[in-house]
Amino acid sequence: MSASGPVVRMTAVGRSYGHGAQRVVALHDVDLDLYAGEVVALVGRSGSGKSTLCHVLAGVEPATSGSVEVDGRSLPDEPDWQDVALLPQRLGLAPELTVAENAFLPCWVRGENGEAAVLDLLGLADVAGRRAGATSLGEQQRTAIARVLSTGPRVVVMDEPTGHQDDDNVERVRRALDLARSRGAAVLVATHDERIVRSADRVVRLESGRVVA
């Protein structure tokens, strides 16, 4: 992928919930490197730990063991959106704000302007001024994808980005991944969608919290 080192290095990452008899282990000693300008598809059955891995990489959840490094430094508790940006399954949009406000929120809190081309790419230009809560679930998901891309982060993490998309819009999401790749981001996409898997540079399979391929 790259002659230089990985942007992300996850080493023996474990994540468990609860204690004693109630302990649930979601991730077992996961090793994973991500390089600049590559898209890695994370596949596996529901409950295999894909979302947990995304959350741990994005700093939303702490790893209970192992280490996560971005550019050779330990991942802070609350990583900067410009370093690691996450598309969670629950999207996390503010429904009262417009599509454009949501998409460019990471920009305007930095005093920067958002890139309208991203909205075009994701087919959101026509609804940019509409409240996010008044748009379809697919549009909301693409708004959250635009938000992920808005600041040009070093690492992009997407959890099921096509879960609410029809065929045309899956293609738009795929092009958004291409955009992130072309900008040199290291991209991890948890997905069940074959089209996204086929367009990835590498596929990592999780089973019961373990990397098997």
């Binding site: 919930y17 109630q22 979601a26 959840e61 990583p79 009262e96 460019f104 005093g111 001024g129």
Partner: protein, 418 residues
């Protein structure tokens, strides 16, 4: 040993400098590098809308006075949004840092004020200073969680103004106290739980004080309500998710808007009223906040920051203990909360139930201590009303500590205002 004693004496003497130095690393550690890491952006959004400085955001249809119907979830009163406007006039990062610095520094101001309150209540100076240093060491990280991590300016304003109101009551300046409480209520409606403090105003002025509080709260909201009569209704209609570590979740209840919120508010006011009426006004922060935390569908960590401040007020002024026991206990709760990952809608795990149970035990324990449910009779706020603590555990207590002295200081039964 002598060296240690000398060092301790110097530490107590330099307590505010030490606490300021203690606050700096906490603030630095907790301040989110990512602008989206805190809730500050809501203040930025609201401030930009109200000031017409709408770079990057869409102006609200009908104008900024419709903001609360446009975004009912905002739940930040006008004083806090207006206070955030200066931070939006220049560089947004600088504004965010400045806001955090001011909010963090407020804890030192609070500690100075609280110490002054203790002195005005006639409490021993040596104990007060020691308590400030030790309790402050636990309060500072808790406060930084609120001021530098979540950056909830509205909660900071409410807590600060309530302490200011107590101070003003001790100065017999009832109108300033009433004004401060009114602004607090305008900032966060749950601050109405602290309004029973006005029971400490002499009867002849009490109704004036309450009216002034209502007026000073209403004046902030009036422009919004006039511009958009749906404002109050919209703000009260917000339905919150139930956090998996909340008491409600443990009891299998779901949150609902409207009546449930009013009931929660009524309980908070009731416990605030009871605290003041029974001569335990130093519980005015900690008791209603504990009730809020017990009955709220959500369990945000900054709720506990307020609890720690309230516990410190109790330890300092309401308790006879030499060490800030409730402050340490509530700070320990906050530490535990920060260590257990909770996600609404996330995976269920035993840690959530454990945290819920610990929180309930701690809060009920705090309520039992500050409201002294084990006692037959609480000391009277006004000695003429009868009752009183004489004959029970106050007997033999070191003077001039204790809530009786404090209540007397507030009600004018003593002239000691050192």
């Amino acid at each position: 040993m002598t060296l240690l004693r000398t060092a301790w004496a110097w530490a107590v003497r330099l307590r505010f400098v030490i606490l300021l130095l203690w606050a700096a690393p906490w603030a630095f550690r907790l301040f989110p590098r990512d602008p989206l890491g805190s809730d500050w952006w809501w203040f930025e959004y609201g401030a930009r809308q109200l000031s017409g400085h709408a770079d990057g955001i869409t102006p609200i249809e009908g104008g900024p006075l419709h903001i609360y119907t446009w975004i009912p979830r905002l739940q930040i009163g006008p004083p806090a949004l207006l206070a955030a406007i200066p931070t939006q006039l220049g560089n947004t990062y600088a504004g965010r840092v400045a806001a955090a610095v001011v909010m963090v520094l407020a804890v030192i101001g609070l500690l100075v004020l609280l110490e002054r309150i203790a002195r005005m209540c006639g409490l021993a100076q040596e104990r007060t200073r020691t308590m400030t240093l030790v309790g402050g060491a636990f309060l500072v990280p808790a406060w930084c969680t609120l001021a530098a991590f979540t950056m909830h300016l509205d909660d900071v304003i409410v807590l600060c103004l309530t302490v200011v109101a107590i101070h003003q009551l001790l100065r017999r300046c009832w109108w300033a106290a009433a004004l401060a409480l009114g602004v607090a209520v305008a900032t966060k409606p749950w601050a109405v739980a602290f309004v029973p403090l006005l029971l400490l105003v002499p009867r002849v002025r009490r109704s004036h004080a309450i009216l002034l509080t209502l007026a000073s709260a209403a004046v902030w909201w009036l422009p919004f309500v006039v511009a958009d009569p749906q404002t109050v209704q919209a703000s009260g209609s917000v339905k919150l998710d139930t956090s998996p570590d909340s008491t409600l979740h443990l009891l299998g209840l779901q949150s609902s808007a409207g009546d449930a919120r009013l009931l929660q508010l009524a309980l908070m006011v009731l416990v605030g009223w009871w605290a003041v009426r029974s001569g335990r006004w130093p519980a005015i922060l900690v008791a209603p906040i504990a009730v809020r935390m017990l009955t709220d569908p959500q369990t945000w960590i900054y709720y506990t920051s307020g609890l720690v401040l309230g516990a410190f007020l109790w330890d300092l002024v309401g308790s006879r203990a030499r060490w800030p026991r409730l402050t340490v206990l509530s700070a320990a709760l906050l530490l535990l909360e920060s260590r257990i990952h909770i996600e609404v809608g996330g995976p269920q795990h035993g840690g959530q139930t454990f945290l819920a149970v610990v929180r309930i035990v701690v809060l009920l324990g705090i309520l039992a201590v500050v409201l002294r449910l084990d006692r037959q009779a609480a000391p009277a706020l006004w000695p003429a009303d009868g009752g009183g603590a004489a004959g029970d555990e106050t007997a033999g207590a070191p003077e001039p500590l204790g809530e009786v002295a404090s209540a007397q200081a507030l009600t004018g039964s003593t002239t000691d205002e050192r």
